[in-house]
Amino acid sequence: MGVPAVQMARATPQAVAQRRARLWRKAILPWLFMAPILILNVVVILGPSIGSAFFAFTEWSGLGAPKWVGLANFQRMLTDRVYRIAFTNNVKWTLIFLTVPIAMGLLGSALLAPIKRFAMFYRVAYFLPYVIASVVNAQIWRNILHPTMGIGPLLAERGLEFMNVAFFGNRHVVLYSIAFVDNWHWWGFLVVLYLAAMQAIDPELYEAARLEGASRWQEWRYVTLPGILPTLVFTILMTIIWSFLVFDYIYLLTQGGPAHASEVLATEVFNSAFFRFEVGYAAAIGVSMSFIAAMVVTGFILLRRRGWQV
């Protein structure tokens, strides 16, 4: 009891001020600077996410009091035909986007890397669709692939009868048509991303490969590919996450139709919550989507732990 009193007695006004300043600098100031982003995150993202985790176990129309129903929403998901279609479509979407745009990105970047003349022009041209709004890109392709005025009937006239398809109206092709449009705006971004990753590769490695008489394929396989591997793995992981979130192009082009043929989980959340007012069920679907993202993020962290430069 006596000790603090001694300390108190010894503490000159300067020392007190100094200690207060240190406390301010160490414990308070950093949090003042972090406060806006943290408060926003809690209010907009973390809080409502916890809310979703709660509503997922309830039946709620958005008005009145939610009714606790336990696991009923999740059980319903297992037997819901539309949920199964949507989930399958997300899986198909993932497989398409893990292959087509990544292959195009690797090809485009490999072809573009050795080029000096017009390099900037190619880069900008590939990137341009990526900066254009999804609303506009969807409109462009809805016109080009229009069943009576678009490119289909035009090609059919010239003998390509199989191209005369209702791209967004035929339930067998609709998902692939939308994926084609989304990929059209996306692959060029990957070209530029992989090119940027290539610039970080030590040029001496290429010199060495050339001195060894490596072909261009071997150069790419043994110097470029290992060099951009972290970026490649990163795009693969992000592709899986984004493929389960896809919303814009599907909503804009078909709203999930015809007859749910292009339904995905994100459009189903939207429909359940804001058209059918089954908020509890919508929240449960949202939670199920997060499981997939969480699994990928865990994989990502594990890769990093094992020393991968992802």
Binding site: I45, P129, V131, V135, V136, A200
Partner: protein
Amino acid sequence: MTVFVRRRSQRTVSLVPNYIILTALVLFSLLPLSTLVFNSLKKDTEVGRNPLGPPVSGIRWQNYPDAWRDGHFSITMRNSAILTFGTIAGVLVIAGLAAYALARLHVPGADLLTLYFIVGTSMPAQLFMVPLFFMWTKLGLTDNLLGVIIIYWATMSPFATFLLRSYMVAIPQDFEDAARVDGASEWQVLRHVIAPITWPGFLTVALVTGLGAWNEFLFAVTFLHRDEVKPISTSLYAFVSRYGREWGLTSAAAMMMVLPVIVLFLLLQRQFIEGLTQGGLRA
């Protein structure tokens, strides 16, 4: 010397297939965009005969003022401008403060916070959107531009923070220490020393968040229903659905949404590309 020349010419010859494939890919990227430009300048009578090619029976500029008037662009442009600039201003301040704290102020548990934000940004909007909508309705923030701006602040700030922090940690500490010795507060150091040096980072963040807000669709279509508050993205969607067959008119409307973006992108492509690819380049 001769060896050098021959090798060089060999390389040039062997690049011809590259140019051919790359040019084909350019056509794949740009031809669809050109149909939009062409259609925006056609009479509707021509669109029926020639829906994809360039206009041949005269150019009709009138589509643009018509679309401006019928699409209520004076309102939607204003709404989109408020959303865009409100988002940019807020994100610059919020992310600037957070980035400075992470780069210089020894935030306890900084690694954990960074991890939290990385995980948070990969979570689907569908996880928090539905409860957020009902909360925002209670607070009067639906059908309200500020309500959507706040959402954009929250969703876009983490990326902006990481980008700005990478700029700030690259600056040698002695730069600011002089100012600190002179008695400047941390806020003053950020405002008068760090921010002026890292302005290219702030510009990149402004461009990327501005583009994101201008083009955004999901939150806009969920939270803004009344015509007076709709931004261009969702009002264009409604406009195109309503005037379905009038491709001249709807294409002109779409052109007015993308022209500012394309002009800015062509002027500042280096910053755009750097900012947009940053997330994918983790060294």
